[in-house]
């Protein structure tokens, strides 16, 4: 039996946030503390019957951005533009560079675990229960709903572009994709207007009504205490 099924979405979300805060505050991580986080999340994933491989793979999505930030980090300490100064800066600051990659990766890994044990609707519901700003929940609801519509429209526009302009130069392609992004924005705005009209016609008054009602119970409290203990453990180790 998967014990995570007995938890409410709000405690799952809160638990993940506590873990993320623990990871961020206790940075930079040693191999031991980072390994402990990975082991814990993996163990939880096994208990929750989550897809560990997919979780790990998806968590890598943060690497390009984190890697780039990490790569630029030592440059602020380069006093003069000589090869020796660059080498010294990178050799001196490799640990913070590593931390800039490891910390966000661990946070994303925790969030990927959350996505494995929660549906999109669960997360939106949890956000409402935790009294996050309504506009944020509304925006995320629409993002979840319309990301596929946007993807479909982008693909259709790209096909239309490619079918009428094969063999374009890279420069021209960049310009056309810029135009495409502009037209997508206008289309999204237009569709937003129509969706708003559809919402109004069904009595929308500014609040997204929901049917669910789940209260936190003893298992939620136990789970939250465990995540707090883990986060405190990371801090104490730090």
């Amino acid at each position: 039996m998967n014990p995570f099924n007995s938890l409410t979405p709000q405690s799952k979300l809160l638990g993940a946030v506590i873990m993320v805060v623990g990871i961020v505050v206790s940075a930079p991580h040693t191999a031991f503390s980072a390994g402990a986080v990975v082991l814990l999340v993996s163990a939880l994933a096994i208990i929750a019957e989550a897809r560990i491989g997919q979780m790990l793979l998806r968590s890598l999505v943060v690497l390009p951005v984190a890697g780039m930030l990490s790569l630029f980090y030592p440059l602020r300490f380069v006093a003069e533009l000589t090869p020796a100064a660059f080498v010294t800066a990178y050799a001196t600051y490799w640990q913070p560079m590593l931390a800039l990659i490891v910390t966000p990766w661990l946070c994303v890994l925790v969030m990927m675990f959350l996505m494995e044990i929660c549906t999109q609707e669960d997360i939106l519901y949890a956000m409402e229960c935790l009294h996050l700003p309504h506009i944020l929940v509304l925006l995320l609801t629409f993002m979840f709903r319309y990301v596929d519509v946007m993807r479909y429209q982008l693909r259709a526009s790209r096909r239309a572009l490619v079918s009428r302009a094969p063999g374009l130069s890279a420069r021209r392609q960049v310009m056309l994709y810029g135009n495409l992004a502009g037209s997508m924005l206008i289309r999204a705005y237009d569709q937003g207007e129509r969706i708003h009209a559809a919402m109004l016609s069904r009595g929308y008054t500014g609040i997204l009504p929901r049917l669910r009602s789940e209260r936190m119970a003893v298992p939620d409290a136990i789970f939250l205490v465990c995540t707090i203990v883990f986060a405190c453990g990371l801090l104490l180790y730090h």
């Binding site: 129509r194 559809a198 109004l200 009595g203 929308y204 008054t205 009504p209 049917l211």
Partner: protein, 243 residues
Amino acid sequence: MSCSIIYEDVSFTYPNGTDALHQVNLTLRHGEHVALLGPNGAGKSTIMLLSNGILKPNQGRIVVGDLTLTADTLKPIRQRVGLVFQDPDDQLFMTTVHDDIAFGPLNRGLSAGEVEQRVADALEAVSLTHLSAKAPHDLSFGQKKRIALATVLAMQPDFLILDEPSSNLDPRGRRQMMELIRSIPSTVLIATHDLDMAWELLPRTIIIDGGQVVADGPTRELLADEVLMISHGLELPAVVKYS
């Protein structure tokens, strides 16, 4: 509840200056199934949006049942007039089919039990009960169209307005949609270019062109009038053309 809808000298101009409707007079009686025909840009969508109070007439008045459309009557009018948009992706904005159908009834402040019952009834009416937990983007276009209709049926409107319900549907989907519309007891206004559907389903037709009503009468009479149809950017339905 009886629900007629009356447009009295209704004119509407969009903020960009487009003159969409000019002194339109119409009466749709309770229980009627009516086709609204006309070329693109004739003013069909404007009439539909005005009926629900999404647009406000610049001139004239709209009466739904015993309520005149004003800012104060907007809420009860929107409860009585259900609008189904042409593109179901405009209509289905929640993350699951169930939540989308529940959206309207919840906005009316119904109890959880009542909302669940309405969701179940609406899904049954469109024969898609098994898709309740699905995300709208996982559905086929035909299924989305039917679910879009279910979202409005769940509100149990007295007056139902559908924009191009059969567009982009395959023959089977179109047939299912037609059967569904036939079974709706409310007053129904359908804006469509599907003349064969109008011929088969809708006893009364209103033709609008250039923002004005140019013809209003029995469907089979108007749709068989080749001169009238051609002169307003329409054509004879296949059932007439090839008979």
